[in-house]
C-alpha cells in the first residue's frame, strides 16, 4: 500500500509552504483588494521565477517535467496561503488545456511557460450544456458576452468554449481589444470581469468531439485541483481557530477547554481528513485512473472538500466570536473563499448527480 505523496513531493510541499509563508500573508491579500491591480504582481513574478507554471508540463514542451501530483501539492499550498495570483486559471486550466492542443496551442504554451501571459478560461461545467455557451465563432471571429470570468480584466488571452457551425469548439482570443467590465466580487481577493466580444479575431484550438473530450478532462482535473485548494484553506482555518481557542479565555478558562468548542474543532479535523482522503483518491485518478474513475473521483473529491471548507470556514468565524465578524480579523478570507470555490465549477446539484450516476458508482466500487 502506497497511498501517499512521495518524499520528493513532500519536499516540494515543504518548500512551497515555506516560500508562501514568507511571501504571501494576509497583508498581501489586503493590499490586492485596495490597490486596483487585481493580483499580487511581485508575488506572481516570484512564482513564475520558480517555474511553477510548468510543473505539470513536459520538459520537451519547456516545463519542469514533473506531473499532476506535483500540481496537486502546489494547489493545496496556494489554497492554504490564499496567494492572490492568477495561478489556477493560467496553469491548472490554461496550461492543461493548451497541453492537449499542441498543434494550435503550442506557441502560447511556450509563452505561458516563459511567464509572459496570464490566461482566463471559461469552462463548460457539469450543470451546463455546450449549446448554452454564449460565444459563437465564424470566419475567424468570435462574438458574445461572458458571465463572471476570473481574472478576465487582467488576462492577456482567454480560452472560451464556442459554438462553431453547430459544433462545440474551443477558441483562443487576445483580450487587448475586448470590452471588459470589472465586477464586484463577493470574495474581493479574486477579481472577476464580464467580457464582451463583437467580432474580435480568434483562433480555434480544437473542435468537435476533441473539444468535448478536452473540456471534460479539464473540468474533472479542475475539480480535483480545486479540492486540494479547498483542503489547504480548510486545514489552515482549522489551525487558526485551534490557536485562537487556546489563547482566548472566558470564565477563567481557555475556550478550547469547553467540550462545545473542542467537539466542533474535532469535527473540523474529521471533515478535513475525510476530504484529504477523497482528494488523494482524486490525485491518484488524475495520474493513473480511467476516465470513468477520474469523473467519479472528481465529484467525490469536490463534494467532500466543499463540505469540509464550508464547515471549517463558518466555524472559524463563529468561534472567533464578534472579532471574527470584523474586517480586521482574517476569518472572512476563508469564509468567502469557501463560497467562491464551492461555486466555481457549477452548482453542487450537478456534481451530486454525477457522483450518484451508475457509471460513477460502478467506478468507485470496482
Amino acid at each position: 500500500m502506497n497511498f501517499d505523496f512521495s518524499d520528493d513531493q513532500r519536499m516540494l510541499r515543504d518548500h512551497a509552504r515555506r516560500f508562501l509563508s514568507e511571501t504571501s500573508d494576509f497583508h498581501v491579500l489586503r493590499k490586492v483588494m485596495t490597490d486596483g491591480a487585481g493580483y499580487g504582481k511581485a508575488l506572481w513574478q516570484q512564482v513564475l521565477d520558480q517555474g511553477w507554471q510548468g510543473v505539470a508540463v513536459s520538459e520537451e514542451q519547456g516545463g519542469l517535467g514533473l506531473g499532476m501530483l506535483e500540481l496537486c501539492v502546489l494547489a493545496e499550498e496556494l489554497g492554504r496561503s490564499m496567494a492572490p495570483i492568477p495561478f489556477f486559471n493560467t496553469v491548472c486550466l490554461g496550461a492543461e488545456l493548451l497541453k492537449r492542443c499542441p498543434q494550435t496551442g503550442g506557441d502560447l504554451l511556450q509563452r505561458l511557460i516563459a511567464g509572459e501571459v496570464i490566461l482566463a478560461v471559461s469552462l463548460v461545467t457539469p450543470d451546463h450544456d455546450w449549446s448554452a455557451t454564449p460565444f459563437s465563432f465564424a470566419g475567424g471571429k468570435i462574438s458574445g458576452s461572458s458571465g463572471p470570468l476570473a481574472y478576465g480584466a487582467q488576462a492577456d488571452f482567454a480560452i472560451l468554449p464556442v459554438r462553431h457551425a453547430e459544433e462545440p469548439a474551443l477558441a483562443l482570443v487576445n483580450l487587448q481589444q475586448a470590452q471588459r467590465t470589472p465586477l464586484e466580487s463577493f470574495d474581493a481577493t479574486v477579481p472577476f470581469a464580464r467580457l464582451k466580444l463583437e467580432g474580435q479575431p480568434a483562433t480555434l484550438l480544437c473542435s468537435g468531439e476533441q473539444a468535448r473530450q478536452v473540456m471534460a478532462r479539464i473540468v474533472d482535473q479542475a475539480a480535483v485541483l480545486t479540492a486540494f485548494e479547498q483542503l489547504g484553506g480548510a486545514e489552515r482555518a482549522l489551525e487558526i481557530t485551534r490557536d485562537y481557542a487556546l489563547e482566548r479565555h472566558t470564565f477563567g478558562r481557555a475556550i478550547g477547554s469547553y467540550q462545545a468548542v473542542k467537539h466542533k474543532l474535532a469535527d473540523m479535523a474529521v471533515k478535513v481528513e475525510l476530504a484529504r482522503s477523497n482528494a488523494y483518491y482524486g490525485a491518484w485518478a488524475l495520474q493513473g485512473g480511467s476516465d470513468e474513475q477520474l469523473a467519479a473521483a472528481a465529484a467525490l473529491a469536490r463534494l467532500s472538500a466543499s463540505e469540509a471548507y464550508a464547515y471549517a470556514a463558518q466555524e472559524c468565524l463563529h468561534l472567533h466570536g464578534g472579532i471574527g465578524y470584523t474586517w480586521e480579523a482574517d476569518c472572512h478570507f476563508f469564509y468567502k473563499r469557501a463560497r467562491l470555490l464551492a461555486a466555481s465549477l457549477g452548482s453542487s446539484d450537478a456534481w451530486v448527480n454525477r457522483l450518484l450516476s451508475d457509471t460513477a458508482l460502478q467506478a468507485l466500487h470496482s
Binding site: 485551534r242 467537539h263 474529521v270 476530504a275 488523494y280 450518484l356
Partner: protein, 394 residues
C-alpha cells in the same frame, strides 16, 4: 501513489491466499451465530489451524509460534481471511489481541507459559470483565471490590457488556483493591477462571433482540493471588496495555449495509430520495475507505498511525446509523415490516447496530475529546475526582 502491495507484501499475500484456499473452506461460517456450541467449536478449530501455520500470531517471534511479521502482514492476513467468512471476532481476539499481550507484558514467566499457547491454539477463550454499570466511558470508576484473604482475593461486584462471558474459559478482570486511594491508583488486574464458583452470567437482551452481551455478577468469588497481573494498585497501568492492544478496525463488515445498497434499494423501488444527503453519506463512506488506505500506508512504511485514527469508528458508526435511517424512511412502512425482504432487514440491523457502535469502544464524545486533545492539542477535561480518595467520589 498507488494501492499496490510492495513486492514483499505481494509475496506474503500470495502465500496467504494459497494457504487459505487449501485450509479455510471447511471453516466457513454463516453470519448467524445462534448455534453457540457449533460456532464456538468452529472458532476454536479455525484458531488452532491458524496457530499451526504461524498465522495466529504473525508479529510474534518464530520461537513462540509466530512469523516475526509486521503489522501490515497482520492486516493482509485479516483482509484475505475476511473473504472466507470464517469464525473470527471478539470470541477469539479478546484472548489473542488483548489478554495475552497484556499477560506477556506484565505477567510472570509462569503466567506467560500457562496462558500463551492455549490461547494461541484456541483452547482458551477469553472475556473482558472491565465495564460496570457506573464505569463505561469513565472506566477507572470501577467499584467491584477485591479484598485480600490469605493467599486469595475475594471479589464482589457487577460487570456489564461482557461479550461471550457465557462461553469464555477465562476472563481479565479490573477490580478495586484500595478505595482510600485516588481512583486511578487503587485498582488491580486479575485473571479469572470463568468456571469458578461465585460467577453468575446473565444475558442482556439488546434492542435488536439478540443477546451478545452479558451482565456478570461476582459474589464472594475467590481468585488465588497467583492470578494477579502486575503489582497491587497497578491495575490501571495494566488495563491501559490491554486497551492499547484493541485492534485497529481493519476489515469491512459484509453484514452491514452501505450507501450503494441504499441507493439501489430506492432506485429498484422507484422511490425518490434526498440526493444531496445520499452523496454526503457516500463521501463519508468512501472517505473512510481511502482514510484507511492512508493509515495502511503509514503501517506499510513501518510507522505508527497518529491519534487521528480514532476518527474511523466515529465516522463509521454515524454513517451507518444515518444511512440506515434514510433507507428505512424511503421505504415507508415496508421499512418497519420488512416481511422477509433481506435488504430491508439489513437496514433495520444497521439502524440498531449503528446505535451500539456509537457507544461501544469509545463513545462519540470520548472520541471527539481524544481528537481534540491528542491531535489538536486542546486542554484535557476537568477531572474533579482525580486526586481525592475513591471512597469520597460520587
Amino acid at each position: 501513489m498507488d494501492f499496490n502491495d510492495s513486492p514483499e507484501e505481494a509475496q506474503f499475500r500470495a502465500q496467504v491466499r494459497q494457504w487459505l484456499e487449501l485450509n479455510a473452506a471447511e471453516y466457513r461460517q454463516p453470519l448467524d451465530t445462534s448455534d453457540v456450541d457449533g460456532y464456538t467449536t468452529k472458532a476454536r478449530d479455525w484458531q488452532r489451524r491458524k496457530a499451526e501455520a504461524g498465522y495466529a500470531a504473525i508479529r510474534w517471534p518464530k520461537s513462540e509460534g509466530g512469523l516475526e511479521g509486521t503489522p501490515m502482514m497482520e492486516v493482509i492476513f485479516a483482509e484475505e481471511e475476511a473473504r472466507y467468512h470464517v469464525p473470527v471476532g471478539p470470541l477469539v481476539t479478546i484472548g489473542t489481541s488483548m489478554a495475552v499481550p497484556t499477560i506477556r507484558k506484565h505477567g510472570s514467566p509462569e503466567q506467560v507459559e500457562q496462558f500463551t499457547r492455549p490461547t494461541l491454539y484456541g483452547e482458551t477463550l477469553w472475556c473482558q470483565l472491565f465495564s460496570e454499570p457506573s464505569a463505561g466511558s469513565d472506566l477507572a470508576n470501577v467499584r467491584t471490590r477485591a479484598v485480600r484473604d490469605g493467599d486469595d482475593w475475594v471479589i464482589n461486584g457487577q460487570k456489564v457488556w461482557t461479550s461471550w462471558a457465557h462461553v469464555a474459559d477465562w476472563g481479565i478482570l479490573l477490580a478495586r483493591t484500595d478505595p482510600s486511594l485516588p481512583k486511578h491508583k487503587g485498582m488491580t488486574f486479575f485473571l479469572v477462571d470463568m468456571r469458578s464458583q461465585g460467577i453468575e452470567v446473565r444475558p442482556i437482551q439488546q434492542i435488536s433482540g439478540e443477546s451478545e452481551f452479558n451482565e456478570v455478577f461476582l459474589t464472594d468469588l475467590r481468585i488465588p493471588d497467583s492470578c494477579r497481573i502486575g503489582a497491587v494498585g497497578e491495575g490501571w497501568k495494566v488495563a491501559i496495555t490491554t486497551l492499547m492492544n484493541e485492534r485497529m478496525h481493519t476489515v469491512v463488515d459484509q453484514s452491514l449495509p452501505n450507501v450503494q445498497d441504499m441507493i439501489r434499494q430506492a432506485q429498484d423501488a422507484g422511490i425518490g430520495f434526498d440526493r444531496h444527503r445520499a452523496a454526503q453519506l457516500l463521501t463519508r463512506e468512501l472517505g473512510l475507505r481511502f482514510f484507511r488506505f492512508r493509515m495502511l500506508t503509514t503501517l506499510s512504511k513501518g510507522e505508527t498511525p497518529s491519534a487521528i485514527a480514532a476518527m474511523s469508528k466515529l465516522v463509521l458508526s454515524n454513517t451507518l446509523q444515518d444511512l440506515s435511517a434514510m433507507a428505512l424512511d424511503h421505504a415507508g412502512l415496508h421499512g418497519i415490516c420488512a416481511d422477509g425482504d433481506e435488504l430491508m432487514e439489513k437496514f433495520q440491523y444497521g439502524y440498531d447496530w449503528g446505535a451500539a457502535l456509537r457507544i461501544a469502544g469509545g463513545a462519540d464524545e470520548i472520541l471527539r475529546n481524544q481528537i481534540a486533545e491528542r491531535v489538536l492539542g486542546l486542554p484535557g477535561e476537568i477531572r474533579v475526582d482525580k486526586d481525592i480518595p475513591f471512597s469520597e467520589c460520587r
